[in-house]
């Protein structure tokens, strides 16, 4: 099968998946979830008030219309207004994306470079004390709750030492730095453990392949083997793993943003969860699903482009 027809087929497959996502979201928030008007109006609301609010929120429409509206929003990106802040949701998302990306994007780049270098180093010294120690450190880092990193990091570096701002956000380049530095650092520490461990496994998988033995038999130095052969081949798997992280960069980190008071999409989502703001939750769910689907597709295509040996199915 040619690459173009593969891409077309994969693009067409997006439609049933997106319809499925919309159906699940609709099922969760329009059908089985408890009536939102009760929590919005309080216990003492009259029947008439409830009915009126339901009318305003569009909850009196027949279910198939409500489903259709959910699907429509996924294609037009018009998610309506938030129930609690009455803002246009697409506007909220637009203004939240930048603060989220300001934190996640640098963290993503730094942790990628750091993890790949460490894992190359560790794979080079495989089987030695270094290697074992690195694996133990990674697993230990992964065993501590991410909450603890955030809490202790915020308390120690921002509160106790006063190196960074404790929480908050400011727009514009130099002003933003003291607010986002610590969150970035924490995300890097959080992702280095699992990433190094994963990359190391990939590199070790490559190191035991026949072509590496051949390269060694030809008399190539270990350095050339690591950088020219192993890294290149390992990159295929690493890229597919990394690309799938990109959607989460835009979505931001729920916990980090709420702890550090960063007005990003993660914070918006968390606020919506706490106030049962269904349209915002639905919008964020559909949006992140779209991002995941697109990047999944991208990964598969990239996989093929980077490694021509991959068979298309």
């Amino acid at each position: 099968m040619s690459l173009t027809s593969y891409i077309i087929r994969r693009l067409l497959y997006v439609i049933p998946v997106l319809l499925g996502v919309c159906f699940l979201v609709f099922l969760l928030f329009n059908v089985v979830s408890p009536d939102p008007t009760i929590s919005m109006l309080g216990k003492h609301a009259t029947q008439a008030q409830v009915l009126e609010l339901r009318e305003v929120l569009g909850l009196n429409e027949p279910l198939h219309i409500q489903y259709f509206n959910t699907v429509k929003s996924a294609f037009t990106f018009d998610f309506g207004r938030s129930w609690s802040t009455k803002q246009e949701i697409s506007e909220m998302i637009k203004s939240g994306a930048i603060p989220s990306a300001t934190v996640t994007f640098p963290a993503f780049i730094i942790s990628f470079l750091l993890s790949v270098s460490i894992s190359l180093f560790v794979a080079f010294y495989r089987g030695t004390f270094f290697d074992r120690a690195a694996v133990v450190v990674c697993v230990t880092l992964m065993s501590i709750s991410s909450l603890v990193y955030i809490l202790v990091g915020q308390w120690f570096f921002a509160f106790h030492l006063g190196w960074f701002e404790i929480s908050g956000y400011e727009e514009g380049f130099p002003d933003v730095v003291p607010y986002v530095l610590l969150p970035i650092l924490i995300i890097v520490v959080l992702s280095v453990g699992p990433d190094v461990r994963f990359y190391r496994t990939i590199m070790l998988d490559e190191i035991y392949q026949d072509y590496v033995r051949t390269a060694r038999a030809k008399g190539l130095s270990e350095k050339v083997i690591m950088f020219k052969h192993v890294l290149k081949n390992a990159m295929v798997s690493i890229i597919t793993y990394v690309v799938l992280k990109i959607p989460f960069l835009i979505l931001g980190s729920l916990l980090i943003e709420s702890f550090f008071g960063i007005p990003g999409l993660g914070g918006i989502t968390l606020k919506a969860v706490n106030s049962s703001d269904y349209p915002v939750i639905k919008a964020m769910t559909v949006l992140s699903a779209i991002a995941l689907i697109i990047f999944n597709l991208l990964t598969d295509v990239l996989y093929k482009v980077v490694d021509p040996r991959v068979q298309l199915k």
């Binding site: 499925g20 996502v21 697993v139 709750s145 909450l147 809490l151 509160f159 769910t285 995941l292």
Partner: protein
Amino acid sequence: MMNEQKSKSLWSHAWDSLISDKLTVLSMIIVVAYSLIAVTSALGLIAGDWSQEVGPSYAAPSSDYIFGLDIFGRSVFAKTIKGTEVAMSVGLVTGILTVIIGVFLGALAGYFGGKVDEVIVWFYTTFSSIPSIMLLVGICFIVGKGILAVYLSLGLTSWVSLCRLIRGEFIRHKDREYVQAATAIGGGDYRKIFKHILPNVLHIVIINFSLQFQVAIKSEVILSYLGLGVQGVPSWGTMINDAKLELARGNWWQLAAATAAMMIVVLAFNILGDSLRDALDPKLKGK
């Protein structure tokens, strides 16, 4: 007969390699110890009086109060044990739910192929396209906050990777000779799936269960922290949440107790999962 003996030797071989590694044995002991603590706590034999006021608010750890006391003068040690009960039950229940859904759907998709496969693949692609945190939130809204929501939401969101693996294994196995032989002597689909193929892919289920267990424990902590988890009973997540305000006053013991309790068991499951993979997955042997 031959088959029976061979499969036994594989498992006993794996067992031998597991207990030859000291770190793995230590991990197993830790897991067993945590399980015992959880069971005795669930039976009410220990930590049943965690809500009792035993001393002054925020008493530091000492010989009287081993892990110190919290704001209401309750024993942090008893709360940590109660939290162990919550964490272990969440790990167990979500692990079991994951295995049931993942194995069932994966086996059906891989074995039958065709339309069944297409539907199941579509279903899990859809499911995995929604970030699990959003699904968790949705499920918590529906069943209400509490331990049931944690069980259901974690169980219902974490079966996809196991389902994928099992589907792949069934596709590889279904045309093998031993399955053809089973067909030849008149074995039905049900028998072939559960009696013949499933035992051959069981190692994947076991490895996945062990790794899933610790992921569930970590997720429970975050859910409880977000206020979507257990209510009215201490959990490591709510303890960490309490610590948010305590840390600035220098009260570190509640945070330390919850963090250490969680870290030890998650570390043990991580090591155990890796050792199980090395022992049971022949593809990785010798690396």
